[in-house]
Amino acid sequence: MAINLDIHLKRADKIYYEEENVSGVIALSSNTDFKHEGITLTMEGSVNLQISSKNVGLIEAFYNSIKPIQLVGLTCEVCGPGKLPSGLTEIPFEIPLKPKANRSLYETYHGVYVNIGYGLRCDIKRSFLLKDLQKTQQFLVQYTPGYNVTPELPLKEKRTPINFELSPASLTSGRSGAPDFLLRGHIESVCCNITKPLKGKVVLVKCALPVRSIELQLVRVETCGCAEGYAREATEIQNIQIGDGDVPHNIPIPVYMVFPRLFTCPTLLTTNFKIEFEVNLVVVFQDDHLITNNFPIILVRE
């Protein structure tokens, strides 16, 4: 007597905004009638923080993993103890997406040290001899476009194109090892709409050595606050090649990168943790010499 439990959300993309109703059906199918001690549906959302083992010892990291921050917690009883008929039973539900008191909702995000996730959990209690049934269904939360969760960000000033010029002289490491080259470029804005790609142009004006590759590296910078202080970690999300091989000189090469879903979210600064992003422009020369230029970026949802 197999009982299948499933939660179907109405929206195919599973994206919900604050104050909206998360709606769908609980689908139960069984080939026989069965009794239960009550069905509950729980909506949960939390921020999970973890401290990098680089900053503290491994064991400490394990113990010190900070208690998750609950953002949403709502349980409702779908029905009391009773009996369900055989066949497919669909129970529609609708739960408003609201943060707990004194909390606000953050966008879904999967990082290395910070994870923000939301889910629905359906529990069916059975009499003590039988196993309880449980099913979870993740859903995604996004800010309504235009909503800014961190008002302190200097958005206005960042909306202008940034021009840059790279040459051996401009390198912080000095001239050591780098061939004679000149790279000019611009980025349309470092304050980016998360749904729109990062755009710009680079032009290799001259270069003594052939270039092997020009790449864009998207980096997340996660900061966790804990008892021992702050831990700030930068890890790569993705690396996108924009120039392959000895690219022609004096021809603009587009800078273009789509921000991946789930692994990016609007830049988030809170008291307990921060999620920020950076883009590195990496030029690799034939002799494996590598230069990078770092652009901190601000992601917003518009």
Partner: protein
């Protein structure tokens, strides 16, 4: 039943009124075939894109003797002429193997597609595959071909898990254990096909991630140019896989868009021209996922290729996304450092773009792609390429040709969307570039030849200026030549153009370069200039080809040149008397090729004209001689026949008008020259007979001494020519014909000799076709009807010829069951009863036949009657031998009819015989009842009309 002493008396006077039909002269034989005199020729290279094929390839089809024969001899095979281009021929073959689906799409689109003039991709594909090959080892990096998947599929509970898992899989593919395989070209191709299958299998077994991985891996192979000369072919093979992948994704999304709709109980398929708002959310979501996934592909080249492959799927998300990403990718290609890789990505982008987009306004990206290529043009000559060429030991010109398939495609596509005013802009851009030969070459082969021709001088200047290491001068001149061939430049410039071009062509020392160039230009010379220039040019060719016997390596090109000259040059006579034409033919030292060339020349002269010029006749005889001498015991039947027909054709060309003696002399000469070929001899006999008949026509039958001698000479010619013909059947027919013609010309002795010759051949037949009874029966009947008018030779008694003929046919082996002999005998009865008439039904003008000679002399009549009796006896014996059967009944009926109509029924025995024959034929029910009734009715009417009581008596006795 059979009475052995049958008495026959021919019925000489019937009271029957003879109705005569009015003869009318006719100009045409009603059974003559309708033959088109001139075979339309297709101008070679009218498809501009063929301009890039190397000459060697163009000849593949021409080398095959059979297709050539078909093309030029059979008037019905005009269609074969269309198939000049080996590429499209190949394409046709490939097409038939292609999935029918894609083909139908191509056909459907062709109607309203602005790109319909472009050479279809399939034909290009085949062309590239045959042209760009390698013997070097190729390597393939893959994790699919010999290993299973490393990542085990876990139970995935949530969508996020799934995505993570998939990305993990992607990562593992990036880093995972891959290995290089070193393969030969053929192995490489099979591996690629294997990957293609693998991809489809993976897709069909729901392993979409694996399918994507295969697609990415394939695309990655295109970033690698380790064996340069194979790269274009590799491109073709791999983009096939990518196309498959793109199609799979598209189809899947399309069905998905439908499936979800079923929830609302409307199971509607998406229409062909759906808009994004008709697409269900879940399909959109899946589609977005695909694009997010490919956006995260690390490497540039695979990312662009895979995105291009999926371009069509943008339609599920938004209407303009597709066009935008086309523009974007056009820009992104600038990031590809290897210019060869970049230009092929552009090619793929254009290829996919033009199949997806519909509106003309959106095709701007094509032009951007071309200008994009121009912008980075100098990069082709950069250090990166130089080092690569050095390591692969490739010359720059060869390297440059690797670009042409892609560039040609792009420019041709551009050509379909821009107007003519674009060309000057492009040219000015081109002028500013250094090393512009590749661009020039592409422009010349990509644009409409008319554009190029109009600016021929300008191009010529640019070609001569662009002395870089790229496309070599001879190649550029050749491309220009091909354009000019299709569409000649303004007439006032032609002379100058030729002067400049030929100056350069003749300065090439390398015979390869020289001849490929000359081949492209020769048609222009032939079409636009007089024989004087052509003569000079041909002389130049001979001069260049002669040293070191370099012509030996270029037979096929030389052959092509000759065929271009003969097919285009208007005045064939002029050609033959040209100083340098026949010497050019002489350059072919290899027998078989020489024969090919001669055939080609001679078949192309089948226009209407006739010649009597001794120089031309001589030249023709010279060419024919080559052909004739090539025939030997090993020559295949078809070849023999073909050569024979060509020679016959030439024989008909030479016409001395009313100078009949000269004509006859020519035929005598031809006979001695072409004695090996039957049909030529037969043709000669026919021609001489025609000559003889024409002579009589002119003299209106009244020969004077001179003409009489002439016709006798003609008859003699025939008489001595015929025996050297091998085919017995032809010999028999020609003897009869010559006999008839001789008779017609009052050469009684010659006619008699011919007929006697027939009688000597007949008993000794060996050839199966001559021995066939079907032939013999009709032939002998024909002979019998001729014999009626042949006057008796006084040396041999009454109807001597007929008697000998009867003896001969009796001796022949006849099939007993068919009893054709009896049928022939019945025909002899007809002849005999006609011989006995006072005036024969037909005569030869001015020849006195037996009716006049004997004047119905009773002795003569008696002789005839006796022969009839003997014949009837023979027939009756045959009938008896035959036994009772349908055939017997049939013959008996025939004989009955002859007897009642031809003989005098007042003779009692004849009368009885007739009645007996009737009963015989009615016996056993073998007779055709309705036929018999009709006979009886006819006889009844006849007897009433002629008041022939005996006949009436017989008719009354006839029972049915």
């Amino acid at each position: 039943m059979v009475d052995n002493s049958i008495e026959w008396k021919t019925l000489i006077n019937t009271n029957l009124m003879i109705k005569r039909l009015h003869p009318l002269p006719v100009n045409d034989h009603p059974l003559k075939n309708i033959i088109t005199e001139r075979i339309p020729r297709k101008i070679l290279g009218s498809i501009p894109s063929t301009g890039m094929t190397t000459p060697l390839e163009t000849h593949i089809s021409l080398l095959e003797p059979l297709t050539r024969a078909l093309r030029q001899l059979d008037p019905l095979s005009d269609f074969a002429m269309e198939e000049m281009d080996p590429l499209s021929k190949l394409a046709a073959e490939v097409d038939s193997q292609e999935i029918p689906e894609t083909k139908s799409i191509v056909i459907k689109d062709a109607e309203n597609n602005i790109f319909y003039q472009m050479e279809p991709w399939t034909s290009r594909r085949a062309g590239i595959l045959t042209k760009y090959t390698t013997s070097e080892k190729l390597s393939i990096v893959t994790s699919f071909l010999s290993e299973g998947e490393k990542v085990t599929v876990k139970a995935q509970s949530t969508a996020i898990d799934k995505v993570q898992h998939r990305l993990k899989q992607l990562d593992s593919f990036e880093e995972g254990s891959q290995h290089r395989l070193n393969l030969s070209q053929a192995e490489y191709i099979t591996k690629i096909e294997q990957l293609n299958k693998e991809l489809v299998i993976a897709w069909n077994t729901e392993q979409r991630v694996k399918a994507l991985k295969i697609a990415i891996q394939c695309a990655k192979l295109l970033g690698d140019t380790e064996v340069l000369s194979f790269y274009p072919s590799k491109f073709v093979l791999i983009t096939d896989i990518l196309d498959t992948f793109g199609k799979l994704v598209y189809e899947r999304l399309k069905t998905k868009a439908v499936c979800i709709k079923s929830g609302s109980k409307t199971l509607a398929d998406l229409p062909e021209d759906f808009t994004p708002d008709m697409v269900s959310d879940s399909a959109k979501e899946t589609c977005l996922n695909w694009f997010y996934k490919i956006a995260s592909i690390r490497e540039l080249v695979p990312r662009i290729y895979v995105e291009i492959a999926l371009l069509n799927s943008y339609r599920f998300i938004s209407t303009n996304e597709c066009n935008e990403s086309l523009q974007r990718m056009t820009d992104m290609i600038h990031g590809i450092g290897n210019p060869l890789v970049a230009v092929y990505v552009r090619c793929y982008l254009c290829k996919v773009g033009i199949t997806i987009l519909k509106k003309k306004l959106e095709f701007g990206f094509l032009l951007v792609n071309f200008t994009g290529f121009l912008d980075s043009y100098h990069h082709i000559f950069s250090r990166g390429v130089k080092t690569e060429l050095e390591s692969q030991k490739m010359e720059l010109p060869t390297y440059i040709t690797l670009y042409t398939p892609a560039l040609d495609f792009i420019l041709e596509a551009v050509n379909c969307v821009v107007n003519e005013s674009f060309l000057p802009n492009l040219l000015s851009v081109c002028k500013k570039k250094k090393n512009s030969s590749l661009i020039l070459n592409t422009i010349m082969s990509g644009f409409k030849p008319a554009y190029i021709s109009d600016r021929c001088m300008e191009f010529l200047d640019m070609i001569l200026d662009s002395s870089d290491g790229g496309v070599p001068l001879y190649h550029l001149l050749r491309t220009l030549g091909l354009c000019i061939t299709v569409c000649p430049p303004p007439s006032d410039q032609r002379r100058e153009i030729l002067a400049i071009v030929w100056k350069h062509i003749s300065s090439f020392d390398n015979p390869d370069e020289y001849i490929t160039c000359a081949e492209a230009w020769i048609q222009f010379v032939v079409e636009c200039f007089s024989s004087r220039e052509l003569n000079t040019v041909l002389g130049d060719i001979i001069e260049h080809m002669s040293p070191n016997r370099s012509f030996e390596k270029h037979y096929s090109v030389l052959k092509l040149i000759i065929s271009k000259v003969v097919s285009q040059f208007q005045d064939f006579e002029m050609l033959l008397i040209m100083d340098n034409f026949l010497p050019l033919v002489d350059i072919f030292h290899e027998e078989s090729i020489k024969v090919e060339v001669c055939k080609n020349i001679l078949t192309s002269c089948n226009g209407q004209y006739k010649t009597n010029d001794p120089v031309i006749t001589n030249a023709l005889m010279f060419l024919c001689g080559i052909l004739h001498d090539s025939v030997n015991a090993l020559t295949p039947e078809d070849e023999y026949k073909q050569i024979g027909e060509i020679l016959c054709n030439v024989m008909r060309k030479v016409n001395y008008g009313r100078d009949f003696e000269e004509q006859l002399n020519f035929f005598v000469e031809a006979r001695s020259a072409f004695s090996n070929i039957d049909i030529v001899l037969a043709e000669l006999v026919q021609q001489v007979n025609t000559l003889s008949v024409n002579t009589r026509q002119i003299m209106k039958g009244m020969h004077n001494r001179k003409t009489a001698e002439f016709v006798q000479a003609c008859a003699a010619y025939c008489f001595i020519t015929i025996p050297s013909i091998v085919s017995e059947k032809t010999r028999l027919e020609l003897y009869l014909l010559s006999g008839q013609v001789a008779l017609f010309n009052q050469c009684l002795g010659q006619a008699d000799a011919c007929l006697k010759a027939i009688l000597t051949i007949l008993p000794n037949l060996e050839d199966a076709s001559a021995k066939s009874e079907l032939f013999l029966e009709s032939y002998i009947k024909k002979l019998l009807s001729t014999l009626l008018v042949v006057p008796d030779n006084p040396d041999r008694g009454v109807v001597g010829l007929l008697k000998s003929l009867l003896n001969v046919i009796r001796q022949l082996e006849w099939n007993k069951l068919n009893c054709n002999l009896a049928i022939l005998y019945i025909s002899v009865l007809d002849l005999l009863s006609s011989l006995a008439k006072e005036e024969y039904p037909y005569h030869v003008d001015k020849v006195e036949s037996n009716d006049a000679l004997y004047g119905s002399d009773p002795k003569f009549i008696n002789e005839v009657n006796n022969m009839c009796s003997i014949i009837i006896r023979e027939i009756l014996t045959l009938l008896q031998d035959l036994g009772q059967c349908r055939r017997q009944s049939h013959i008996a009926t025939e004989l009955f009819v002859k007897i009642v109509t031809r003989s005098d029924l007042s003779v009692k025995s004849t009368n009885t015989l007739a009645i007996n024959l009737w009963h015989l034929s009615m016996k056993n029910g073998y007779a055709d009842k309705s036929y018999m009734i009709r006979i009886k009715n006819h006889l009844k009417r006849r007897s009433e009309a002629t008041r022939n009581l005996h006949l009436q008596y017989v008719v009354d006795k006839l029972a049915i």
